[in-house]
């Protein structure tokens, strides 16, 4: 399948600061990729380059087979900026009618779009009176105009409540099923974990990791943590059996182990029989994996 977005060896400098170094990525139709990275890692810069808003020094970027920012590319790409803003004097409906006209679509679809993001009740009100979450939903509504082949979403769920977030990801699932490629950035790692096909971790302008969550988990080889609670009166015996463990509160012993030792360790715990009251196995979280990759370069 021809990729919707191809970036190869992209480099961008802001004066002396290297904002992006040698970044390459590829996004196929219907795939959802999440860009992770702390503030200033280069997430928004990549997005603005893909949209043609910011020029770049070297490398190749191809959006739906066209140059980023060309009218051909712009016709196929929709964008939701971080902290999206609109003119406060226009109503939600008027703003969407304007955007529909700019994309060459019928302005009468505005109400339908507002209904899809749950804003029908506020369509006739000025955007100046909207809450941040409502503005964000107007922003989402305008990305649904036409049939974009690529969605670029910068922190799309910021300002949304948990229910709206779930609705939003359901909208994305529908779009992806129709073949739209989605590039989004987020700080909320748990939602990215469940709702994207691929994770890209940026650190200091470099792409430090790329893959599915399972790939990244294997590659990071972070320790799995076993939390073992001893039966009453057997704390000392348990601690003696696992000297590498760190005793915590409530008689819980915390044992970290690498993936390959996990099963042997579990067998050892099972062998203690009645001395153990409870056992929890905690795999490394996305937060742990993210920290592992983004700190590797001495951050």
């Amino acid at each position: 399948m021809t990729p919707t977005l191809t970036i190869s060896r992209l480099t961008k400098r802001f004066q002396s600061v290297e904002a992006l170094q040698d970044v390459s990525l590829c996004l196929e139709p219907g795939k959802r990729a999440a860009l992770l990275g702390h503030n200033g890692a280069g997430k928004s810069t990549i997005m603005k380059i893909v949209l043609g808003l910011v020029p770049f020094e070297s490398g190749d970027v191809s959006v739906c087979g066209a140059r980023p920012g060309s009218s051909e590319a712009r016709a196929k790409v929709a964008y939701l900026p971080e902290n999206v803003a609109f003119h406060p004097a226009l109503t939600g409906e008027e703003q969407l009618r304007h955007y529909l006209s700019l994309r060459g679509e019928r302005p009468s679809q505005a109400m339908e779009l507002l209904a899809r993001v749950g804003l029908s009740h506020a369509a006739q009100r000025r955007i100046g009176t909207y809450s941040k979450g409502m503005r964000q939903r107007v922003g989402l509504a305008q990305t649904l105009i036409g049939h974009p082949r690529l969605l670029v979403l910068d922190e799309p769920t910021s300002g949304l409540d948990p229910v709206s977030r779930r609705d939003f990801y359901e909208l994305l699932d529908g779009l992806a099923a129709d073949g739209t490629a989605i590039l989004l950035s987020s700080h909320v790692l748990t939602e990215v974990e469940a709702r994207t096909d691929r994770i890209l971790i940026l650190s200091g302008g470099k792409l430090v990791a790329e893959g599915t969550l399972a790939d990244l988990r294997t590659r990071a080889a972070l320790p799995t943590v076993l939390l073992v609670r001893s039966a009453v009166g057997h704390e000392a015996a348990l601690a003696a059996a696992f000297p590498q463990g760190i005793p915590g509160k409530d008689d819980v012993l915390r044992i970290a182990c690498v993936q390959s030792e996990k099963l042997a360790l579990l067998a050892g715990i099972a062998a203690l029989g009645q001395q153990v009251a409870d056992l929890d196995v905690i795999p490394p979280s996305l937060e742990d994996i993210y920290s592992h990759f983004s700190r590797r370069d001495g951050q």
């Binding site: 900026p81 226009l90 700019l102």
Partner: protein, 273 residues
């Protein structure tokens, strides 16, 4: 074309809600009526109809007011979008920067046309009401309206340029005031000083006509005064209108808006969101 129209409709709506339509119209009507009332004194034996006299006075008013209104409406056009954070999203739409500017220009020109038509119209009504023979001056009133719109277009373009260069509304507002002062006030004062010191020499005969044509506000004044029968009713620098062929001032009036919008588009293209 649809994209330009859609932009114009949105911009007009915004200007209407921000009271720009009423402010511009109110200002023009108020000043025009004051002029019409004040202009009723010196009539009598000047040999022209009342309306032509009014048009001559309105020309002097328009030279100051139209550029001011145009700059006030336009200084926020790009800088305001940058400050509100609406520009990056807009620029990802399949619409060119020229189309965006033309849409804004269309809306602002419509407001300006409405304001001058109502303002001059009010003054014309007063003139015709007190002197039915004044309908003879309707042609010069019409000429004043469309030339005011062209003058406005030049300064709207200048406002968009400043807005793109400053990138902040406060900076753009300061630049707009400076441009207005230089183009409509200081430029004429400087010419006047040069004429006085020159004493009818080479400057007055050779350089002055070019200097007048080079400034859109002066070209507007020269065009209307030399076209109207009311030249005699106007004094000051208008006397120079005799020496400049009307096609030259008309050409200046037509070319300035084009140049100004071209420069504004070039400046807007340099804005990186």
């Amino acid at each position: 074309m649809n994209r330009i129209l859609a932009t114009a409709i949105s911009e007009f709506r915004i200007a209407f809600r921000n009271r720009w339509v009423s402010i511009a119209t109110g200002m023009m009507v108020l000043f025009a009526l004051v002029l019409a009332a004040a202009g009723s004194a010196p009539t009598g034996d000047v040999g022209v109809d009342r309306l032509s006299v009014t048009v001559a006075s309105l020309t002097s008013l328009a030279v100051y007011l139209v550029p001011l209104l145009a700059l006030l409406m336009s200084f926020d056009a790009v800088a305001g979008e940058v400050e509100r954070g609406t520009l990056p999203l807009l620029l990802t739409y399949p619409v060119s920067r020229l189309q965006i500017l033309l849409g804004k220009l269309l809306a602002h020109l419509a407001i300006l046309a409405l304001a001058v038509a109502l303002g001059y119209g009010a003054a014309a009504l007063v003139a015709v009401w007190s002197d039915p023979g004044a309908v003879a001056g309707l042609a010069s009133l019409w000429r004043l309206i469309w030339s005011s719109v062209l003058l406005g277009a030049t300064f709207l373009g200048a406002g968009y340029t400043l807005s793109s260069l400053a990138r902040r509304p406060s900076g753009a507002a300061g630049l707009a005031v400076a441009v207005w002062l230089v183009a409509v006030v200081l430029y004429d004062l400087a010419l006047l000083a040069l004429i006085v010191s020159d004493g009818g020499g080479a400057f007055t005969t050779q350089a002055l006509p070019i200097a007048l044509l080079a400034n859109p506000a002066d070209a507007f004044r020269v065009f209307n005064l030399s076209a109207a029968a009311a030249v005699a009713a106007a004094g000051g620098i208008g006397g120079a209108a005799y020496s400049i062929p009307i096609w030259q001032s008309a050409a200046s009036l037509l070319l300035w808006p084009l140049a100004s919008v071209a420069v504004a588009t070039a400046a807007f293209r340099k804005v990186t969101p």
